[in-house]
Amino acid sequence: MRGLAALLLAGAAAAQPLAPYTVQGDAIAAPLAGLAGDAARGRAIVANRQLGLCLLCHGAPIPEERFQGDLAPNLAGVGTRWSAGQLRLRLVEPQRLVPGTIMPAYHRTEGLRQVGAAWRGKPLLDAQQIEDVVAYLSSLKE
């Protein structure tokens, strides 16, 4: 219940245009818009149920957030399993890797249907937020 309510109250994603990117293999090697990420900010985004929404589906080593989802792999150790470039593609365009995955594309506005007025034309996370989350995930080593 809390989950959907969180989605419902969800706050504003940034209205910036999308950053262009190039996919090589299973990764986006270059940081979006050439920005540097900040792991502490990234952690806050992942923990935030109105912004990252990650904890609706994933568990993560964020013990102060009690209600975590279990319908996706736990993010603990994800920085050991994947490089920054691989993590970037998994956030930006997860459906390229797992067609039909329930995980949303976090930096996309095209090809969506029936988007609510408040969200139309806006990606879930802007380029800086993507880089912050990539920095945080990269720090999750096991």
Partner: protein, 249 residues
């Protein structure tokens, strides 16, 4: 890892697994509240619905009772086969719309707006007459194109989060969304009392919540898209006992 979800999405089409009411997934306190009429907060609405059933209204001062008599006889089983085909509009009507039509056409009284308290009360009262009976949507071929549209909507990804009903309720039920169980999304007990609402709500209110939850634009109450989804949900829930009035957190 990716295997399980992909697999779940492939083989979890409706009907491939035994249907389970949302009641099964609730905690013991919520279950007890639903099962014990003396604890069920929806009883307030049920009693109000009963009073409205007997109340003369409109130009001719007729009550539902005047035409239909004792609801425990005339309305028994009716809710199990709604939405049903309406010849006048050549399309499906859900139970609330059917009641609204009687109010306007037969009682000649002013219409009630969707989700209004009297309408929810009367719908609860009518549906409760079928409590315990299996959900049994009519095999009416005229409904088939509408049901098919509902099914298409059920698997269509929508909203900024780009998710479909099927991804949560066929592919991920029995898992947890932020710590809360996801059920099969079986519409067995509507109208329901929801603790979060502190009141009663229709199935359409629930569906609009799910849509807004994935940041989609929800159609307005009464919209054809919502009735079509209701039709498909009734097919999915075929055979499950009707539970109105259910209680959900």
């Amino acid at each position: 890892m990716r295997a399980w979800l992909a697999l779940a999405l492939v083989c979890a089409s409706a009907g491939a697994q035994p249907a389970r009411s949302g009641l099964d997934f609730m905690g013991p306190a919520t279950q007890a509240m639903q099962r014990d009429d003396s604890q069920n907060p929806a009883m307030l609405w049920l009693h109000e619905g009963q009073a409205l059933w007997n109340k003369p209204e409109g130009r001719e001062q007729r009550s539902c009772m005047s035409c239909h008599g004792d609801a425990s006889q005339s309305m028994r089983g009716v809710a199990t086969r709604y939405p049903a085909f309406d010849t006048a509009s050549q399309g499906p009507l859900n139970l609330a719309q059917r009641i609204g039509q009687c109010r306007v056409q037969h009682q000649q009284a002013t219409p009630w707006s969707p989700e209004s308290e009297p309408l929810l009360s009367l719908e609860t009262y009518v549906a409760q007459q079928s409590r315990g009976l299996p959900i049994a949507p009519a095999a009416d071929p005229r409904l088939a194109p509408f049901t098919a549209r509902g099914q298409a909507a059920y698997v269509r990804r929508i909203g900024q989060l780009d998710m479909s009903c099927a991804q949560c309720h066929d592919g991920a039920w029995d898992r947890k969304l932020a710590g809360n169980p996801i059920t099969q999304g079986q519409a067995t007990g509507y109208p329901i009392y929801r603790l979060e609402w502190q009141g009663m709500g229709s199935l359409q209110r629930r569906l609009r919540n799910c849509m807004t939850g994935v940041r989609a634009q929800a159609p307005p109450f009464g919209a054809a898209e919502l009735v079509e989804l209701e039709l498909y949900l009734a097919q999915r829930a075929r055979g499950l006992p009707l539970e109105t009035p259910a209680v959900r957190p």
